[in-house]
Symmetry: C2
Subunit: 308 residues, 2 copies
């Protein structure tokens, strides 16, 4: 069960720019997690201006869209942004909340028993409202961003206290805790509630923490990153989708989930918007997972090592 935006984006990177295209956190999370053998469903809101084609695309990927409310006469959430040359930073050019401003999410009865809940980036009160409608989820994953730290701190702290996993980027983790060291930062976030903390470092990979252990997944070194939009959401979709498919929420299995998250994100950035995620085969995913193995797995036999 995914809650998050389904939206229009207009994106500019050094490689080009797009008109209004399909975007939104729930869109990327949904497309990414649809590659796993799970039943996924989106709760979101769009305006009457939202093309049926976009909704059909989501349906065609096996995503249940019963929970996407279409507001008569309303306009869909719109974001536009421009990336700087290194693609690590971006400026928001325009944000039109539109129908999102009054979004009161209603989780369809058929979704309420979902075991895996992904709270995509939204106002923390909307995330809380969704969580309260769920019966007894096995795992709740939260994504958020610095905007809510600046504008809805108390609500954000409340939702963080109620989730099992938080995914957050490095600068946001530092802002949330006042700690520069990501190790210290993760520990402080963990004390706020989540048993597992995932810190996303963009092109520098992602770290997974629980109270005792740390795991690191690199980003795939790419010749070019065309458009980072949605990479974090795609990561979260791969992470949660893999966990939902396997049903195993041990730290050991979360390591695999982080690798799948990183793998799915590595596709997302290869083309503009959702384009790459719309056309992605199981064969390509398996090949990329093999690339991640080659990239990270080594064979040091410690027991056989010298005894000086």
């Amino acid at each position: 069960m995914i809650v998050g935006t389904v939206a229009f984006d207009a994106i500019e990177t050094p490689f080009g720019k797009t008109d209004k295209i399909l975007g939104g956190a729930a869109t990327y999370i949904g497309l990414s997690s649809s590659h796993f053998n799970i039943n996924n469903a989106i709760v979101s809101v769009v305006g009457e201006d939202f093309p049926a084609d976009h909704l059909n695309l989501l349906s065609s990927k096996g995503i249940n869209i019963e929970g996407i409310e279409i507001v008569k006469g309303g306009k869909t959430f719109f974001w536009s942004g421009k990336y700087h040359n290194d693609l690590n930073t971006r400026d928001t050019l325009e944000t039109q909340l539109n129908v999102l401003a009054d979004f009161k999410p209603v989780v369809p009865e058929s979704y309420r028993e979902a075991e895996f809940v992904m709270l995509g980036n939204l106002h923390p009160l909307v995330q809380l409202s969704v969580l309260e409608q769920m019966k007894k989820p096995k795992l709740v994953v939260l994504d958020t961003m610095n905007f809510w730290m600046d504008n809805a701190w108390d609500d954000l702290v409340k939702v963080i206290a109620k989730v099992d996993v938080i995914t957050i980027n490095d600068e946001e983790a530092r802002q949330l805790t006042g700690e520069h060291s990501l190790v210290k930062s993760a520990r402080k976030i963990s004390q706020m509630g989540p048993k597992y903390v995932v810190i996303k470092k963009g092109e520098h990979g992602a770290l997974l923490f629980n109270a005792e252990q740390i795991f690191f997944a690199p980003a795939l070194p790419l010749e070019e990153v065309f458009d980072p939009t949605g990479a974090g959401d795609t990561f979260a979709g791969g992470f949660t989708g893999y966990l939902a498919e396997s049903g195993d929420i041990s730290f050991k299995n979360m390591k695999n989930a982080v690798i799948y998250g990183s793998g799915m994100a590595s596709f997302c950035v290869e083309k503009f918007g959702t384009e790459r995620m719309e056309n992605l085969s199981e064969h390509e995913i398996n090949s990329r997972m093999k690339e991640f193995k080659n990239l990270t797995q080594f064979d040091i036999e410690l027991s056989a090592k010298k005894a000086l």
Copy 2:
């Protein structure tokens, strides 16, 4: 066989500052590689002001110091620097070349058949001169820095053409090639000569490239980095020391070497200067290698993965 500076450093970080302490590329490379079961030896130069204690320390670690020339009446190379708050950048406060200005390295006869040669950061002509005195090394590893790109480009290109492996940091790789993408950058560097390219990204780990493959070793996530001085040299010492001990220069074994490099560097930054490297047990190294395994190794069974 190591060539590089043996020097005095004065270091300031947010955690404190030191007076003139033992430093220099060859010192860090030597201390790091001395933890492997090899015969290592340094070619360098110091002044008459260099304390016997420092030389005795190197000898006590099993490093042959016959090739460290002591210039009568000369003063030892001195560097002082101050790190910024994030420890990723630093300002050089003072550089006194002293005896390094006229250094004409002479490789002792007993070193000339060394199979593994580590050319630590120095003027490229000094590195070339050392290389010309070697009989038939099995593997030559070069470290360099942006200073030589700005001041001795043609000489630098000559030495790069003659080595098997280059270690270089990310910004330097970009400067050397004009490519922002590290994948493209590594390919261009490889075309300049080295079969293997190691790009060091500091706290973000290190990448190993050959013509077909990429491997990534993370830096160990630490609560605090006290002093990054010498971390790159310590990495190079661990990398080359491991390869020299095993005698295996396949890409597969270089993966292990990069992990050892990253592991040794993770100790170096825990205390000021060489302090941590002077007091490091085999047990600690093995424990840290186990940490690197836990940090990076996962268990995705691709063949068993869903066939959607």
